[in-house]
Amino acid sequence: MPNNPGDAASRISALAAARWRIAIILTVAMVLIYFGFIALIAFNRALLAHRLTPGLSVGIVLGALVIVASWLLTWVYVRWANRHYDAALDAIGRDEGAGR
């Protein structure tokens, strides 16, 4: 057992809160992007039918961008988790090991 479990527990709590914040912000972003797209389909067809070039309607471009946005959001999360979350977990594990 770690010799100061309370300290590790509070560090995990802080990290859990940070992860929850990131997860919720990114989930809400995804919901807004996708349902924003659906709302445009439902309520503003004229905008989506508008042509940027003879072959590209705003609708097709936005549809492709929803997919690109999904990629970007997963990339943002993985980058945060790999850099900060994993490092913080490693540090907690290391300090416990040192205190044994």
């Binding site: 995804m30 996708y34 389909i41 039918a49 609708g59 997919i67 990629w71 959001l73 999360y77 594990g93």
Partner: protein, 526 residues
Amino acid sequence: MSLVFLLSQAAAPAAQTRIGQPNVVAMAFFFVFIAITLGITYWAARRTRTTEHFYAAGRTISPGQNGFALAGDYMSAASFLGIAGLVSTTGFDGLIYSTGWLVGWPVVLFLIAEPLRNLGKYTFADVVALRLRQTPVRIAAAIGTLATVIFYLIAQMVGAGGLIKLMFGLSYETAIVIVGAAMIAYVLFGGMIATTWVQIVKAVLLLGGAFLLAMLVLARFGFNPAALFRAAAERYGDAVLAPGQLVSNPWDAFSLGLALMFGTAGLPHILMRFYTVPDAKAARTSVFYATGLIGFFYLLTFVLGFGAMVLVGPDAIRAVDRGGNMAAPLLAELIGGTPFLGFIAAVAFATILAVVAGLALAGASALSHDLWVNVVRHGKASGTEELKVARVATVVLGVAAVLFGITFKGQNVAFMVSLAFAIAASANFPALVMAIFWRGFSTAGAVASMLVGTIGTLLLIWLSPTVQVDILRHDSAWFPLKNPALVTIPLSFAVGIVVSLLTSVRSTDAENAQHERRMHMGSAGD
């Protein structure tokens, strides 16, 4: 220049298609696929000795492999043949599905994948039941799992029978029996190891086939997608590039979108895959790869759908199959002749086989791990016994799938995929999220939430226009939405919260700290 070429191609009448006639190339490709996957199964069978192998491939799958396997589990024939068909006959409207089927994956990554890997063992019920009373929670979770799996399975089997009949000229029943037998063989002998590799082979074939087909289409338009879309608009009117009739009711669109987005995060055969990797970080990385692969695939469906619209034509596509499902195979035939048609047909068959194998394994784990071991035997069964029960459950589910396929022959079962997503989103997803993130979640709250989610979804689907108008041919339906997720997801959350607040047993700070620790550091951190 591409347009001139295009107009000359337009004269090709669809009556010349060889779809539906026995196709030597398709048969050859298909038998190669069966031989390879059964070889994998033989190899995997010798490595499947414990429940951990059978359910979770010994937790030795790498993130890259699991990324492909997740993509393979998820990209069903419905997304390959169905979306291409929908886009080729309706244009832009089909793209609503292309995007909707992807946006659930980031949600899986942000909310589910890592906590699930750290908190559970084999099934998502492990996580829901972790801090609660096993028996009632396991039963409720198994009902949600089996409902999702069975409706998904029926849709796949009926689709498989029809498609194989169209593409290979085999009888419907023969096709169903072949699919059922191959599925049982993979899962029974090779467990998760074989199922994972079948998914990987299938994902590579499907992505490769779709990419090749899309590139051959784009080659005719100077590798410029906009030129392809312009050709579609010039031929069939500007409306094909804009929203049309599919979304006549905005609330229907929101409800379907919710089911697709949150249903992905509640599909048992997808959730189960996160236990096949060594740790939570590997689970995270595998979703990142899967999102990339699946998104790439759905971008290809833009090209395949509009390519089939321009080169084959909506009328010719509907003439072969009213639902438009043959758009991609017809396109392959037009571009690469009978050999390419054979290849794409074999890929579609492989796709169906792989998806039903994943579903069968998820259903078998609910029957054996959740119901038999944790309810009937109160968690006291030996590993040998559990493995035996899981194998019996696999055979039972395989036989049931064949019988379902034959029973529902000729029925309209397309709605069952969105029904499966609605149940997953309303019964499995809310309970999972509350069990992971809310310390006040109680046994009664979990059971009530999952049962209300499952039963509410079934009831409202029955009362919806999907069943009442489209199938039973009544004039109107009591419930206005085609997909009930807009009502049932919030309802399931609300029931879970209210019942938990009424029955909550306060957990101690030490228990909460231990749960939090395990969620982030895994059970090794205990």
